[in-house]
Every structure is written in C-alpha cells, then in structure tokens.
C-alpha cells in the first residue's frame, strides 16, 4: 500500500474522535461536583437555562461580583477556603501498580570507566613538565572541568620520581589531589612501555572502594584518576604501579594546602524521585577536583532499584552530571542503599547559587514486570513477555571470540558473546545519554561474565559474554524503566562554609 495513502488514513483517524458512549450526562454530573462547594442554589440544569439572560458573555467586574461566599449556610468563608476545598475535592488518588513487584537479583550493566585514550605528541608531553600548561593539554582534560580548573589554579604537585626495575622505568611526574580523588601523571619507558599498568593506593586500614579511571595514554605521559569512595585519601601514602608481575612503589606526600580545600553544602530536604522514592542527601562536598555527594536511597515500596541521574546546576542552568556508576561503595553500604556520587567540578568554579537535581532522562527504575526476558543458552531462544512493543529484545546471533585486556593481552579462554538489541529504547528518549538501562542475572551464576552496552542505529545493543567453559543455562535481562515522563525540579543547596 502506498505509504502516503496510509499516512492520510492515519491522519484522518488522528484528527477525528467519536464521543464516548453515554457521555451526554457527564457535564451535568461534573457541574454538580464543581458547584457543590459553592452552596446549593439551583441545579446545573437551572443554571444552564440562565445563560441567555445573564451577563456571562462579558467579563465580570468587581461591582458585578461581590463576595459570593459570605453569609451562606455552611459557607466557605474566604476565597482561600474555597480554593482549598476545591483542591481537596479534586485530589487524585495515585494508584501505581507496584504491589506485585518483587525483588530480583541484578547487576548493573554499565559502560564502566570511560577511556578517553587520547594520544599526545612528545612535545606536549615534554611541556607537561613546565606547569601550568593547561591550555595545551585541553584534550587531556576533556570531560574533566574540575581537574582542568584545579590545574589552572596551580594545584598540580610535581613529584618527578623514577623507579627502574630491569629494563622498565616508571616516572611519577606529579599529582593533583583532593580528599577523595588523585589524578596521577606518569610515564613508562623501556620494556613494556606500551603495556597497561595497574595502579593502586597502599594505605593501612584503607577499606574504601577505589575506582580508577584511565584517561589517557600518550607516547610518554599517561593520566589515571583514582577515586576513593567512602574514605579520605591521606596526605601520605604509597602509590603502587604493577606491571608484568613487578611492583613499582612510590611514597607520596601531598601538600595539604594544595589538596584539602573544599566547600560544603547542605540540603535539608530529601530529593523526591516522583513516586519512586527519595534520595536523602547526607553530604555535599566540593573539593579541588571533584564534587562528591553522599546520599541514602529510600525507594518506595515495590521499587526494586533506582539508577539515579544526579546533577549539580549553577544559577545559569548549566548542569554537571555526577558519574553514573555512583554505586562503588563497600558492599555493606550498597545493601543499606547508600550511594556516593562524583562529578568533575572544582570548588574554584563555584559562583552564585547552586542547585541539585535528579534528571528523569537519566534516571531509571527496575521492576520485575519488565524482568521477564530470558535467553536459553542451549537452545538460543529468547522468551519475552515485555508489555510494550517498543521494548522488544532481538537476539542478533552469537560470536566466539578472544577477549583482550587494555594492553591487548588475550585471555586463555575463548568467550561466547551474545548480542541483544532493544530497538525501542532510544526511541523512547532519543536524547538519552546515560548507560544504565539494563541488568541481568545468569543461572547458574558464572564466576566471570562481560557486559557492554552501546547505541546503534537500530537501538540499544547489549553485549553479554560468558566463558565458553562456563555452564550458563539461562541469561535473564531486566530492563530499567526510564522516568522520561516525570518532572523533577532541582532544589537550591546552601553553602556551609
């Protein structure tokens, strides 16, 4: 059929609408409800009949209408009283079907640490030793306004120490730090100069989780950002680089005056996430490099999980989003639904009013109503009971491949990769830029798995890999429901110091 003709037919149906059956009396019934608070003077039908003879066709003036409410039996009294009465009458009882939701184990799929992977030319690397050179390092600092600002304000602390083991030499060029973030600039020469190196902080009794973001690998200089969650980085610690079973340990002593300044804010009310729960903000701390928010999530009954898109906003409406992988706290804290978010904004950038808000476009909740997609590995069959056609999951075939780490080393076991597409997901919200819209569990739970998610022209693609040797029978996919319909307003936060 001609598409244009079909379009015309669709348009015709869209433009027209029949009246619902037996709806002729609705106006009368509704008028009764509306007029009831005003007192019992005549019926709506009576009033309808007065229309012709009244002055309704023109705008009333103060002399036309003077205090219609005083002196009535059971009168409402003031305009405000009447307004309240009407408002109460029209309150809608919200009945969102959540009662049947149950808890399902899930693991958040995320793209994880963002790897910029910018390459630098040697002259830039050389120039790095002559701080401040922020202007020439913009590509290194893309997406890191907090770090950029810290460097601009001379918070870079040069170290320039080198350790050589066998034929590999690692130089710790310098760091920029605040209470919970450590940006490490280093370089590797000799053998394994191109390989991936593992960074770790060696701090006694340091039990907090650490997230390491590898930001750039140039020919000489690399940048990694270490984010500590739930614990402050001390001014003295050992920074260890592990490569090829060799450990390069650098004692580091931070200049507290360059790394301990921060601004605290407070919010004395929880952030309401529509009907899905609340986020109780416990602490907002903006340091030299990053802003950190500690919060307790209080989901509403029946809501399994919430992935929060939190942002800070200045008075100009410019938003800075907190990392989407905010849940890197210790296991115990996760169980208690506490969260810690970090965003790259420096205290130097704060000016004027600040607001905090939850972006419905980046916030999603999980419900087992949607957790009904599962994939049988043996028969390669998808079982789907998704209620909305726009949430179809399509299986795109499997691939057996080797999996390599960041340095290019391949694992010994081949992996089977299953790819799923969810065509409707980005259609629902074409502007969506977040990651956390999927979850999965496997039966039996394998010790290893890999997950990824990206956007294609066809929709969102999930890539789930398991080792060929694993005995996974079934993969469950749980889909997060985006809150694109909700209106969540930001709230102003107050500076404490």
């Amino acid at each position: 059929m001609d598409e244009r003709l079909l379009d015309k037919k669709i348009e015709k149906v869209l433009r027209e609408q029949s009246l619902p059956d037996h709806s002729d009396s609705w106006a009368e019934e509704t008028l009764q409800l509306m007029i009831e608070p005003l007192g019992s003077i005549g019926t709506a039908a009576d009033l309808g009949g007065q229309q012709a003879g009244s002055d309704l066709g023109r705008r009333q003036t103060g002399s036309d209408l003077q205090d219609p409410f005083d002196g009535q039996a059971g009168s409402i009294g003031t305009a405000a009283d009447l307004h309240n009465t009407v408002v109460n009458r029209s309150k809608i009882t919200k009945t969102i079907m959540r009662g049947t939701l149950t808890v399902a184990a899930s693991l958040i799929i995320g793209i994880g640490g963002l790897m910029i992977g910018a390459k630098f030319n040697p002259s830039l690397a050389e120039n790095m030793m002559k701080w401040p050179l922020v202007g020439q390092w913009v590509e290194y600092l893309v997406g890191k306004p907090g770090l950029k600002s810290a460097i601009e304000h001379d918070r870079y602390q040069p170290i320039n120490a080198a350790i050589k083991i066998d034929n590999t030499e690692i130089t710790l060029n310098g760091v920029v730090a605040d209470q919970q973030t450590l940006a490490v600039y280093y370089s590797i020469t000799g053998d394994h100069a191109e390989e991936f190196v593992e960074l770790s902080l060696e701090i006694p009794d340091f039990k907090a989780a650490i997230g390491i973001e590898f930001s750039g690998m140039g020919e000489e200089v690399r940048l990694s950002e270490i984010r500590a969650y739930g614990h402050e980085i001390p001014t003295q610690f050992t920074l260890a680089f592990t490569m090829d079973n060799k450990v390069f340990r650098f004692p580091v002593s931070l200049d507290a005056s360059l790394s301990r300044e921060s601004v605290q804010y407070e919010l004395n009310q929880p952030l309401v996430i529509a009907d899905y729960g609340m986020l109780d903000i416990e602490e907002i701390n903006v340091g030299v490099i990053n802003a950190s928010v500690k919060a307790r999530l209080l989901p509403a009954e029946g809501v399994k999980d919430l992935n929060i898109g939190l942002y800070l906003m200045d008075q100009n409406g410019d938003k800075i989003y907190f990392d989407s992988m905010g849940r890197l706290n210790s296991e115990a804290e996760v169980e208690a639904q506490t969260m810690e978010f970090k965003a790259s904004i420096s205290r130097f950038e704060l000016d004027g009013k600040m607001f905090i808000g939850i972006d419905p476009q980046r916030t999603a909740w999980q419900s087992n109503v949607l957790s009904t997609v599962y994939f049988d590995v043996s028969s390669e069959t998808i079982h789907s009971e998704l209620p909305n056609q726009s949430e179809i999951i399509v299986y795109k075939g499997r691939e057996v491949s080797a999996l390599s780490d960041m340095s290019g080393k391949e694992s010994e076991k081949p992996w089977i990769t299953y790819e799923f597409l969810r065509p409707g997901m980005f259609d629902e919200n074409p502007d969506y830029g977040g990651h956390e819209y999927g979850a999965l569990r496997m039966e039996p739970d394998p010790s290893e798995s890999s997950m990824g998610m990206w956007q294609t022209e066809e929709g969102a693609a999930f890539n789930i890999g398991v080792p060929e040797t694993s005995e996974v029978d079934r993969i469950y996919l749980s889909l997060f429901v985006p809150m694109v319909d909700e209106v969540l307003k930001p709230v102003e936060i107050k500076k404490l110091n």
Binding site: M1, E3, L5, L6, D7, K9, I10, E11, V13, L14, R15, Q17, S18, L19, P20, H22, S23, W26, E29, L33, I35, L38, I41, G42, A44, L47, G48, Q50, Q51, L56, R58, Q60, T61, D64, L65, Q66, D67, P68, D70, G71, Q72, G77, A79, L82, H83, V86, S90, I92, P387, N388, Q389, I392, V394, D427, E428, P430, D431, V484, D485, V487
Partner: protein, 220 residues
C-alpha cells in the same frame, strides 16, 4: 481581591454573585464539554477512564477558575481568550493523563506479538472517496478505523501524545514542546517516529488479523 473580597455585602448581592459564578462555571463546562469528552476518550481509549479524566480536568480547572486572576479563562471576552481557555484546559487534561493514567496504562497494556515487525506487510485497506458509500463499505471503513485506533493505542505515550496534540488538538510544535517540556527537535522526532511506528504497528496488525490479538484487554 475584587469579586472575592471578604467584605460583608448585602445578602441579596451575595446570592446574585454566587449565581453568576455558578452560571459562569456552567457555561464554561458546557462550552468545552464535547472537546474534553473527545480528548479524554482519545487519550484513555476507555469510557470509564475517560469519564474520570474528564471530571478531574474540570475539577482541576476549577481550582484556578475561582481565582480572580483567571477570570479571563472563565469568561473569555473574545475569540483569542476563548482559544486560550481551551488550550489551557487541554493542557490540564493532558498533564493529568500523563501524571496519572499513562502510568497505570503502562502496566495494563497487553500487546502482542513481539516480533511481528519482521513480518511487516502493508495494510490492504483503502478509504473510498464515495460520499454516499454502500453499507458494506461503511462497515469496512469502521473496521479500518478500529484497526488504526488500536494501532494508535499500542503506541507508546511518548509518541501518541505528541501525535494527538499535533493532529487532534492542532497544536503547533512550539505549544507541544512547551506542554511536554521537550525541545522542538525532540517533538519533531517523536512525531516522525510516531507516524513511522504507527505504520509498522498497522502492518503488524494486518499480519496477525488471522489470529486476533489482545489490545488493551479487548479482542480486535
């Protein structure tokens, strides 16, 4: 406060002005009755739900109408004010639907089949140009309409509401973007994708007409 001031006028004055207020509300409801009935039915596709939405719309409107600053909405003095009042009421209706009914509907929809898109076939229906069609043609048209309506019902509200606003309420892109709090480009995208999805849904329904499908609890 003008007409809502708390001075104590004569009993007669009270009675008269109260009657005028009630009469104004009556005219207001009767003026917009048909369109709000249609709109609420278009949005909910269910008689009971549309009645509820209809009543909530007017009750919600009354919260504002009784305030003096909204007098122009209650008793518009010209065509432009009448149009503004109608638009304002449509917005209330749409927002109520989005706030309440759409959430419930999200869970109540039962739409199958999941993979019908792969078997997309054109809908073999034609609208006759004959102004005085035969009874059989009328029947076929009604059937076509029902198929298209059901396809519209299956559409996610992200697409359906902009389509209804654009075609049924004849809102322009700016108005849609304001009411739905979307960028104009997003509105355009949703209108385009909505029409596209509607076409696909129709093709899918044609594919499955041999096996009646469930849409919003009714067999089509």
């Amino acid at each position: 406060m003008g007409w809502l001031k708390t001075d104590t006028p004569s009993q007669r004055g009270v009675s008269e002005s109260n009657e005028v207020l009630k009469a104004s509300l009556t005219v207001f409801v009767k003026t917009h009755d048909v369109m709000i009935r249609k709109l609420s039915y278009k949005l909910t596709a269910e008689v009971e739900a549309s009645k509820d939405l209809y009543q909530q719309t007017f009750l919600k409107a009354m919260e504002r109408l009784i305030l003096p600053e909204h007098l122009a909405l209650l008793s518009p003095s010209g065509i432009s004010e009448e149009k503004a009042a109608a638009n304002w009421l449509y917005t209330i209706c749409l927002n109520l639907y989005r706030d309440q009914y759409a959430k419930e509907k999200r869970w109540l929809n039962v739409v199958e089949p999941q993979y019908a898109e792969d078997s997309a076939q054109a809908l073999k229906i034609e609208f006759a140009a004959d102004p005085d069609p035969e009874p059989l043609e009328v029947l076929m048209r009604e059937e076509e309409r029902a198929v298209i309506e059901s396809a519209l019902c299956q559409l996610s509200d992200h697409y359906r509401i902009p389509l209804i606003m654009y075609y049924f309420l004849e809102c322009d892109l700016k108005k849609i973007s304001e009411v739905l709090e979307l960028e104009i480009s997003t509105v355009k995208s949703r209108l385009f994708r909505g029409r596209e999805k509607l076409r696909k849904n129709l093709a899918a329904q044609e594919f499955s007409t041999a096996n009646p499908i469930k849409v919003s609890g009714r067999e089509v």
